[in-house]
C-alpha cells in the first residue's frame, strides 16, 4: 500500500449499531416530529462514525424542531479562526445523546472579532447562551521567530492572552453567556527534536506555554476549557489534524475527529446543566475481580499484585476509588450470594474497595434492572444518573433495552482496557470541584449513620430532636457560588420550577439589589450536611410588596428533616424585613419533582384560582398575616456570608 491509512478517534464505549441505515430510515417513520426526535436520540446512543453523524444530523435538521418536550434547548455559538462548518453536526448529534437540542451558530472563519464587536452581526441576533472559542495557535506562532528571546516570547503570549480575555469578557458582557475556550493543539513538527522543549521560540514549546497560560487565565475568569490538546495527545495528532484538510479548506479539526469534538463539547454543555452522571454501579465477577466468587471462593478470585490480570481488576478498583474521592457515588449490582460477595469486601487482602466506599450494595439473584432501580431509589438520585459497568454483554443489552436512560459502556474484552474505556467515556464530566464534592462520600456514610439512628429511635420526632440540627443561612455568597450553581442545576426532585441557571446568571442574580437570595446549610450532631438548599425570590411583577419564589431547590440528602419548614420560616421573616406582605410561588410539575407536589399546601400557601400559565405551573399564594411560624427541631446557628 502506497498511502498511509486515515486515522480516526474512536468512541469505543458506545455500542455498535446493527444496521444504521435501516434504523435511521425506521426512526423517521414515526407519526410526528417529536416522536422522530425521540427515535433519533436513541440512535445517537450508538457508536457513529463521520458519515453516520452527518446523516443523523441531517435527519435532525429536517425535523426542524426548535424545542421538544423532554429535550433541553441550548443556543451555542462557535467563534473560530479556522473553518468549523463540520463541527455543528457533530455537536448537535452528541447533544441529542444527552437530550440536548442544540442550536449552533458558527461564524465565518477568522471573523470572530468582528462578529463579537459589531452589534449588527447575526451573532448578536442569535444571542448565544454559551460561546465556544475555537482558535488556532497559528497567528501567535507566526508572530514569534524561533530565535526569539524569552522576554519576547513572554510578551507575545501576554498579548494573546490579554486579547483572549478581552474577547471572553466581551462575549460574557454582551450575551451573559458562559464561555468555553478550546485548548491549543500542537500541530507543529519538531525543529530541534526533543530539544524543542528548551527553546522558547520553538513552536511546540510555545503551544505548551500558551496552554499553561490559557489555563491560568481561564481559571481566573471562570471560563471552561475544551481540552482537545489532551484529546489529540490521546488519539495521536494524525487523528485530530490533517494537513491536507488544512490546505484544502483551512480545517484545524480533522473531519474524522468531529464526532469526538462534538461529544466533548456536549459533555461540557450537559455538565453545566447538571446532566453528568452521578453514580458508578459496578458488577463484581469478572469486573471488579477475575473469576466467579461463588464458584472459585474468596481465595480463588483473580485480584491484586502478582498477576497481570489481577492487577488489571485492581486498576479498575483504584480508578473507582479515585472517582469516589472526587464525589462520584459508588454502588454494587451483582448476581451473587450476598454473604459471599460481602465477605470479599471484608476479608480479601487485595481488595482496594471496602464496604464503606460503597453507598448501595446490591448482591442478590434478582434481575439487574430491578436492582438498578432500587439503587437509584435508595440513593435518592435519578435513574438517568447511573453508569452501569458489567463485563457480561447479555446483562448490558438487557439493561440498555429496558432502562435506556442508564449509561452502559461497551466494556472491552480485556480487563486491562476497562479503565481506559471508562476514562474515554468521561461520564462524570465536571464544571467545578466543590467542597461538597470532596465530602460527598463522607456525607453518604454519615447518612447511613443517621438511618441507623432513625431505626433505633422510638418516633420520628425523637429522632429529629436527637439529631440536634442547626441551620446557617444568608444571601448567596461568592465562596459558595459554585455549589449554588451546582445545586440549582443538579437537583431534580425538590425543585419547584426546574429553572436552570448558568454560573453567570446566578452571579448576576446575587448582585441584583431587589432580588432576595437565600442559601441554607444544615448541620447536626453527626456532621455537616453541607449547603443543601437555595431559594431565589424577586419582587412580583407590578406588586412591589409581594415577592415571588422564582425557584427553590433542596438536596434529597435532607428530605424529611423539617428543613423546608424552617427555610420557609426564614424566607417569610426576611421578606417581611424587606417590606413584603405576601409571597407567590409556582410549582411546575416535571416527571421528577412529584415528591413536592403538595409542598406549598403543606407550608400554608393557598392555590390561586386563575387560568394556568402557559408553562403549566400551579400558582400558590401566602399572605403573611395568615402565616403561622412552624415549630421545628432546627435552631438558627447564625448567618452565612
Amino acid at each position: 500500500m502506497q498511502s498511509t491509512a486515515l486515522r480516526a478517534p474512536m468512541m469505543s464505549w458506545l455500542p455498535i449499531p446493527v444496521d444504521f441505515r435501516a434504523d435511521l430510515r425506521a426512526a423517521l417513520q414515526a407519526d410526528d416530529a417529536s416522536r422522530c426526535l425521540e427515535n433519533l436520540a436513541r440512535l445517537s446512543g450508538y457508536q457513529l462514525g463521520f458519515l453516520e453523524t452527518l446523516q443523523l444530523d441531517r435527519a435532525i435538521s429536517e425535523l426542524g424542531l426548535k424545542e421538544a418536550s423532554g429535550f433541553v434547548p441550548i443556543r451555542l455559538a462557535i467563534l473560530a479562526s479556522s473553518t468549523v462548518d463540520h463541527l455543528p453536526p457533530a455537536i448537535r448529534v452528541a447533544g441529542l445523546r444527552r437530550k440536548l437540542l442544540i442550536d449552533v451558530h458558527s461564524g465565518a472563519y477568522g471573523q470572530y472579532r468582528q462578529d463579537l464587536l459589531n452589534p449588527t452581526t447575526s451573532l448578536h441576533q442569535f444571542s448565544p447562551q454559551t460561546v465556544l472559542f475555537s482558535l488556532t495557535a497559528r497567528e501567535i506562532l507566526s508572530d514569534v521567530p524561533v530565535t526569539a528571546a524569552v522576554s519576547d516570547v513572554d510578551e507575545a503570549i501576554n498579548r494573546s492572552i490579554d486579547e483572549l480575555r478581552l474577547l471572553w469578557g466581551k462575549a460574557h458582557e454582551t450575551f451573559n453567556a458562559a464561555i468555553i475556550q478550546q485548548t491549543f493543539v500542537d500541530v507543529a513538527e519538531p525543529l530541534f527534536g526533543s530539544y524543542d522543549r528548551f527553546v522558547p521560540g520553538a513552536p511546540s514549546r510555545l503551544v505548551a506555554e500558551l496552554n499553561d497560560r490559557l489555563t491560568e487565565a481561564a481559571a481566573r475568569d471562570g471560563v471552561l476549557l475544551l481540552d482537545i490538546g489532551r484529546a489529540s495527545a490521546r488519539d495521536g495528532i494524525d487523528a485530530w489534524f490533517d494537513t491536507g484538510r488544512w490546505l484544502q479548506g483551512k480545517l484545524e479539526i480533522a473531519p474524522q475527529a468531529a464526532p469526538l469534538y462534538g461529544e466533548m463539547t456536549a459533555r461540557i454543555l450537559a455538565a453545566q446543566r447538571g446532566l453528568s452522571k452521578k453514580c458508578l454501579v459496578l458488577d463484581l465477577d469478572n469486573t471488579l475481580w477475575g473469576g466467579v466468587i461463588g464458584d472459585d471462593g474468596i481465595e480463588g478470585i483473580v485480584l491484586g499484585e502478582g498477576s497481570a490480570a489481577g492487577e488489571a481488576h485492581l486498576a479498575l478498583q483504584r480508578y473507582a476509588k479515585q472517582l469516589k474521592e472526587r464525589g462520584v457515588i459508588l454502588a454494587i449490582c451483582s448476581k451473587n450470594d450476598p454473604a459471599i460477595a460481602e465477605a470479599a469486601f471484608q476479608k480479601h487482602p487485595e481488595m482496594l474497595l471496602r464496604q464503606p466506599d460503597i453507598a448501595a450494595f446490591l448482591a442478590n439473584w434478582d434481575d439487574k434492572t430491578k436492582n438498578l432501580k432500587a439503587i437509584a431509589a435508595r440513593l435518592n438520585i435519578g435513574i438517568d444518573s447511573l453508569v452501569f459497568v458489567d463485563d457480561n454483554p447479555v446483562e448490558r443489552a438487557r439493561v440498555r433495552q429496558s432502562l435506556p436512560m442508564i449509561a452502559v459502556p461497551e466494556l472491552p474484552d480485556d480487563p486491562a482496557q476497562y479503565v481506559r474505556c471508562l476514562g474515554d467515556a468521561s461520564y462524570f464530566e465536571a464544571v467545578a470541584f466543590t467542597s461538597e464534592d470532596r465530602h460527598r462520600a463522607r456525607q453518604y456514610a454519615a447518612n447511613a449513620e443517621r438511618e441507623a439512628l432513625l431505626e433505633s429511635a422510638q418516633s420520628m420526632d425523637e429522632f429529629l430532636r436527637g439529631l440536634k440540627m442547626s441551620v446557617v443561612f444568608g444571601p448567596f455568597t461568592a465562596v459558595d457560588h459554585a455549589r449554588i450553581v451546582q445545586l440549582f442545576n443538579k437537583t431534580n426532585q425538590f425543585n419547584t420550577t426546574t429553572r436552570r441557571y448558568t454560573s453567570e446568571e446566578i452571579a448576576s442574580i446575587a448582585n441584583l439589589p431587589n432580588a432576595l437570595t437565600l442559601q441554607f446549610r444544615l448541620l447536626d450532631r453527626i456532621g455537616d450536611n453541607g449547603l443543601v438548599s437555595a431559594m431565589i425570590l424577586r419582587p412580583a411583577p407590578a406588586q412591589e410588596d409581594v415577592f415571588e419564589i422564582e425557584n427553590w431547590v433542596m438536596s434529597c440528602r435532607v428530605f424529611g428533616r423539617q428543613l423546608e419548614f424552617e427555610a420557609m420560616n426564614i424566607a417569610v421573616e426576611v421578606a417581611r424585613q424587606r417590606g413584603a406582605r405576601a409571597l407567590i410561588a409556582d410549582y411546575i410539575a416535571t416527571p421528577k419533582n412529584n415528591v413536592i407536589s403538595a409542598l406549598y399546601l403543606s407550608l400554608g400557601f393557598a392555590p390561586i384560582n386563575e387560568p394556568a400559565p402557559a408553562n403549566g405551573a400551579m400558582r400558590w399564594f401566602l399572605d403573611f398575616s395568615d402565616y403561622v411560624t412552624r415549630d421545628t427541631h432546627i435552631v438558627h446557628a447564625g448567618a452565612a456570608g
Partner: protein, 80 residues
Amino acid sequence: MTAEEILSAFTRILRDLLLNDSIVLTMETRREDIPNWDSFNYINFIVAVEIEFGVKFKVADIESFANVGAIITELMKLRK
C-alpha cells in the same frame, strides 16, 4: 475489489451523505450532475471514502478529479 463494486460503494456513501436514495452514480458522473454535492460535501465524501477504504488521497488529486471514474482509478491504485 472491482471498479463496479467500488462504484456501488460510492453510490451508497453519497446517498447516505446527502440523504437521497435516488442518486445513481456512473463512472462519468461529475459533481455538478448531483444536486447538493457542493464543495463542503465533496470533502465530506472524500473523507468518508478514505475512512471506509483506509486510504488517503493526495491533495493535488482531490483538487483535480474530473469525475467519479477518476476517483475510482486512483483509489484502485492506492489499494494495490
